[in-house]
């Protein structure tokens, strides 16, 4: 339901890219995100609600990965940042803001799980730092990478 508050125990998926905004551990593996990975648009930070159809996390995550390919090209070097909604709210508070996570299904491009983090401005560094501290990285599913690659090939063929 558009505008519905997402339960605090649920999760949001964020397309994390480009590669240089992904923090690397001492082995070079992605281990966190820069605060700059959160792109704050006029309506908020664009994410996907993982459990939006009542799925378990794993099933919902795989679905979210596929849906994220509808808006941006997914590359192997990109990652999915997962945030618990309760942590999003806490990050808002530490920055003196009231952050919210709301359902924002989209028709074009079709993304019924689209969600927004609202109440944050692009210069709310304190909140964005908080969000970066609670973001846990996961790789995109192979199916999502494949779908994105196929779509990219088709685009190139057309041009």
């Amino acid at each position: 339901l558009k505008g519905e508050a997402i339960p605090p125990e649920h999760h949001l998926a964020l397309h994390c890219q480009p590669a240089h905004l992904l923090e690397r551990d001492e082995n070079g593996q992605p281990s966190g995100v820069s605060w700059e990975v959160f792109r704050v648009d006029e309506d908020g930070i664009s994410t996907n609600w993982i459990e939006f159809q009542g799925q378990k996390f794993d099933t919902g995550f795989a679905e979210a990965c596929l849906l994220l390919t509808s808006t941006r090209t997914v590359r192997r070097s990109h990652m999915v940042g997962v945030l618990r909604v309760v942590d999003v709210l806490a990050a808002g508070k530490v920055g003196g803001k009231t952050a919210n996570a709301i359902h924002d299904p989209r028709e074009i491009p079709f993304n019924p799980g689209h969600a927004l983090i609202t109440g944050i401005a692009a210069d709310d560094r304190a909140v964005l730092d908080g969000l970066s501290a609670v973001t846990v990285l996961h790789p995109f599913t192979p199916a999502a990478i494949q779908r994105s690659a196929t779509a990219e090939s088709a685009r190139r063929a057309r041009t």
């Binding site: 240089h20 992904l22 690397r24 966190g32 070097s77 508070k93 908080g130 501290a133």
Partner: protein, 243 residues
């Protein structure tokens, strides 16, 4: 700040290099916060373009490219070459002490440039730090296409600052590493869930931001430190680096 370059006619010019005339070299550079020459290593190659001539330092042994203006190395065997950099003016002096083959500019990737700086500074670091930085740089900078597409200009002055910081403080755990959109290196420590301390480096200083969402009440603080000191940083955050 913008600088003006004057490329002097300096002794016998190497064959095969086209020098721009002084009037062609205007407002070429934007230098960072440090008013200093930025240094490139030179290699043999065939990638010289008229717009990418080496410009050197009056101090000698330094060569600057207008292509990316980043500190790479203070190596070189030039007695003296071309220009000293002052914020708004360059002066030129010196003479060539190399052959034409020595001064062709190299098409270096961002990763190569950073690796060379790390190599030049490796004596300051512990072995595991050098290895970790190698891996981190490779992971962050291996996709040159993406770097170009995002217009990322990586600051080697920032990498220099990071290396100096690690050498000065000997952190008990090696930090995570990322880059800002402005090309600065950012190191972070997260000793447990929902906490994070991030330092973003310039050559001489770093901005720090600490967040602890697990504390009651949650804590967020920020400030700046000079590279050689953690004075001014909240003790609880400082402990995550050197405690």
């Amino acid at each position: 700040m913008a600088g003006r370059a004057i490329l002097g006619a300096i002794g016998p010019k190497p064959a095969g290099i086209h020098f721009l005339e002084p009037h062609e070299l205007v407002d070429l550079h934007t230098f960072g916060e440090a008013q200093e020459v930025r240094v490139f290593q030179i290699k043999q190659g065939a990638s010289v373009q008229d717009t990418e001539l080496p410009i050197g330092s009056g101090a000698g042994k330094q060569v600057v490219s207008r292509a990316s203006l980043e500190v790479i190395s203070a190596w070189g065997r030039w007695e003296a070459l071309v220009a000293a950099v002052i914020p708004t003016i360059w002066t030129s002096q010196g003479s060539w002490d190399g052959t034409a083959d020595d001064i062709l500019l190299r098409d270096k990737s961002t990763l190569e440039m950073c690796r060379e700086l790390l190599h030049a500074r490796r004596g300051l670091l512990r072995a595991h730090e050098v290895l970790a930085l190698e891996r981190q740089l490779s992971a962050l900078l291996s996709d040159e296409d993406e770097i170009v597409a995002n217009g990322l200009k990586v600051s080697s002055a920032s990498l220099d600052g990071l290396i100096a910081f690690l050498a000065a403080h000997r952190p008990h755990t090696h930090p995570r590493l990322s880059l800002t959109r402005g090309g600065l290196f950012a190191a972070s420590w997260a000793p447990r869930d929902r906490v994070k301390l991030t330092l973003t480096f310039n050559r001489e200083a770093a901005d720090w931001v600490g967040v602890d969402l697990g504390a009651a009440p949650p804590v967020r603080d920020s400030g700046a430190v000079v590279i050689g000191s953690l004075d001014g940083m909240r003790q609880s955050f400082r402990d995550w680096i050197v405690g």
